[in-house]
């Protein structure tokens, strides 16, 4: 068995690891900007599939299938993003005689079109978010909806998902620019400019349920994840279980998710996303027909390897567990480590990672996508790695995360690590009191405070910097020291061409 991974970054590495443990061969595909990426380093084989822009590489179905044919791969795992929820791709894999590690093209289609999915779920008796409408053909339609439903509304790309391609609109004035930008991003990122709108539910929690189904009709759920902490509609911290879900509510959420999945004949791993109000009423939002970024928190608590389960299911295997066999244990939290500068409005911070020190020790899991000496390209997501910590209780998991963040060091680029330290120390977060607006309300208070100049740490830091500057000045000036011309040339090379 040989598996081609049609993805990059930490998720490609995650899948390569699972395949390696199962004794399966692995094939990485990579754009020219990704020659030095970790997934290329770790795969058994690697095939170039085009220039840096995703449109010309990671989204090119023809080139990926060519790579599979050339290397004799038996299966393709799409990861998340890129082609993971593209039914045409899933179908093209099947047509080429390859196993697609995911659900059927029909299930992807059924859930992919968010508005049609909602109708189908409603028919299956699954509660849905109020206010959903069909995708619009023009700005006028969206304006009409906004006027009838009243602000705030959300504009979302019909083909979007995972927090991409959606915008909150609170006032009339913002409507036109938001529509234009969402449409443009939808066309650029998903190849489909269609957008729709829905009424925005205030102060909700974002809860999602993990399901696992096989091709023989067995479906189980693996409880919920708490994904309420978001910035720009992107999740930043996820946990399992949710601090506000008890065993009874978990059973209700699970039953709803299994019903939703069964309604579309779902198999493989999948996630049913819900909004939950303060009254703990929950509404189906969408189903992600793929592995989720935050799947490790579920794995650590439920003791099941979701990627290995996907591979088993894709090969036609039967789920080895019934609902009664699986039980959660302890608590897990994930922080997404981004190449963004929290002190400069989260501006992207690509570039050379000069030094990295990953946290280690008990209960710490690094889903890493980068390494010391690697240059983070500008073409893709700013997510570098994920840090996941497990503890016997939520408090223990938070304490472990705080400890791990202290060990985590990245030099050369800025990352969101200090921002997570602030969150882990926040009293409301520690008490489990938050909604999806938490991060935005926290941002103005974000004072990653610096010690005063007479603090011994500052004296030590200034002394060290002065000594090293002094030592540097004593050295002969070398023509080719440090960042070599050769390496600089390689970096400019990677920057060339359209994004």
């Amino acid at each position: 068995m040989k598996v081609l991974i049609a993805n990059r970054g930490e998720i490609a590495v995650r899948i390569i690891r699972a395949c390696g443990e199962l004794g399966y061969g692995t094939v990485a595909v990579y754009s020219e900007a990704d020659r030095s990426a970790l997934h290329v380093v770790y795969a058994d084989q690697a095939v170039p599939i085009g220039p840096a822009p995703s449109r010309e590489s990671y989204l090119r179905i023809d080139r990926i299938l060519d790579a599979a044919k050339k290397t004799g791969a038996d299966a393709i795992h799409p990861g998340y993003g890129f082609l993971a929820e593209n039914a045409e791709f899933a179908r093209a894999c099947k047509d080429a005689g390859l196993i697609f590690v995911g659900p059927s093209p029909e299930a992807i289609e059924a859930m992919g079109h968010k508005t049609r999915a909602r109708a189908r779920m409603q028919a299956a008796g699954v509660p849905v978010v109020p206010g959903l409408i069909e995708p619009v053909k023009s700005f006028d339609e969206i304006a009409a909806f906004a006027h009838s439903a009243g602000f705030p509304i959300m504009i979302k790309a019909a083909a979007g998902g995972g927090g991409k391609g959606m915008r909150l609109v609170s006032t009339e004035a913002e409507l036109r620019p938001a529509y234009d930008r969402t449409t443009s991003e939808a066309a650029s990122f998903f190849g489909d400019p269609e957008v729709y709108a829905e009424k925005f539910i205030e102060a909700p929690r974002h809860i999602e349920v993990q399901i696992l189904g096989d091709q023989h009709g067995n479906i189980i759920h693996l409880g919920e994840r708490e994904c309420t902490l978001q910035r720009r509609h992107q999740k930043v911290v996820e946990e399992c279980p949710s601090p506000v879900v008890d065993e009874e509510l978990r059973a209700q959420l699970g039953a709803m998710a299994v019903r939703a999945a069964a309604a579309v004949g779902y198999y493989s791993a999948g996630t049913v996303e819900c909004l939950m109000g303060a009254d703990k009423k929950f509404y189906f939002l969408e189903m992600n027909t793929r592995l989720q970024v935050e799947h490790p928190v579920t794995e650590m608590v439920w003791g099941i390897d979701l990627v290995k389960a996907q591979l088993l299911i894709a090969r036609g295997g039967t789920l080895p567990w019934t609902q009664g066999d699986v039980k959660p244990s302890g608590h897990a939290i994930e922080c997404r480590i981004y190449a963004e500068d929290p002190m400069r409005k989260f501006a992207p911070s690509p570039g050379l990672i000069r030094y990295i020190n990953l946290p280690q020790g008990p209960g710490v899991r690094n889903e890493n996508g980068v390494y010391s000496g690697y240059t983070v390209p500008v073409f893709y997501d700013p997510m570098l790695s994920k840090l996941v910590c497990h503890g016997s209780t939520r408090d223990a998991a938070i304490a472990r995360m705080k400890r791990a963040l202290t060990e985590y060091r990245v030099e050369g680029i800025e990352t969101t690590i200090p921002f997570f330290t602030v969150i882990m120390h926040n009293a409301d977060f520690r008490a489990g009191r938050f909604d999806t607006g938490f991060i935005d309300r926290l941002l103005p208070l974000l004072d990653i405070s610096r010690p005063p100049a007479d603090d011994r740490r500052v004296e030590a830091a200034i002394s060290a910097a002065a000594i090293l500057a002094f030592e540097e000045s004593q050295r002969v000036q070398l023509p080719d020291d440090g960042d070599s011309a050769w390496r600089r040339a390689g970096r400019l090379e990677a920057m060339r061409g359209p994004l």
Partner: protein, 165 residues
């Protein structure tokens, strides 16, 4: 050797001298006797003469030093006084009117024209990097003297974008 350390908004005079196998430092009014050992390319161990020890991670680009120790990151600029005076002259010569790219990326749209008057905070252009569109805003009110880039251009971090006078 006399240096200036800039921390937050403070300029501190620093004097460094070798002393035995260590160093004698004067930082502002205070004098330290310091023993420092290189533990690898980025890790150093610094010890004051009262025995207090700090393990630190140090990285620098030009004069900008970042020192991480006991969970805090301290950013300090170390300049020699001559270079500082040169820099101050350049600053007053008005080089500050160049708006630079804060990150590498691709120019998506230009929102202003040459000759246009802009208020502080006016969007100048949209720079795409890492799948996000970032609006670059005017740091002060003024007139757009010159635009150095066009849509579709790929720029490195620090590249000049427009000249604002």
């Amino acid at each position: 050797m006399k240096l200036i350390a800039r921390y937050e908004d403070l300029d501190l005079g620093v004097e460094v001298e070798r002393e035995g196998s260590g160093y004698r430092l004067t930082v502002g009014e205070r004098t330290f006797h310091i023993d420092m050992v290189n533990c690898g390319p980025y890790v150093h161990s610094l010890r004051f003469d009262d025995g207090e020890q700090f393990s630190l991670i140090h990285d620098s680009v030009g004069n900008d030093h970042e020192v991480t120790l006991r969970g805090s990151k301290v950013k300090v600029e170390i300049v020699d006084p001559l270079a500082l005076r040169r820099k101050q002259r350049e600053d007053s010569a008005g080089e500050g009117g160049i708006v630079k790219a804060l990150m590498p990326g691709r120019i998506v749209r230009i929102l202003v024209e040459a000759g246009q008057e802009v208020a502080k905070g006016t969007g100048i252009l949209i720079l795409e990097a890492m799948k996000m569109e970032n609006e670059i805003q005017a740091p002060a009110a003024g007139t757009i003297e010159e635009i150095f880039v066009k849509p579709g251009d790929t720029v490195e971090g620090g590249a000049p974008l427009v000249h604002l006078v």
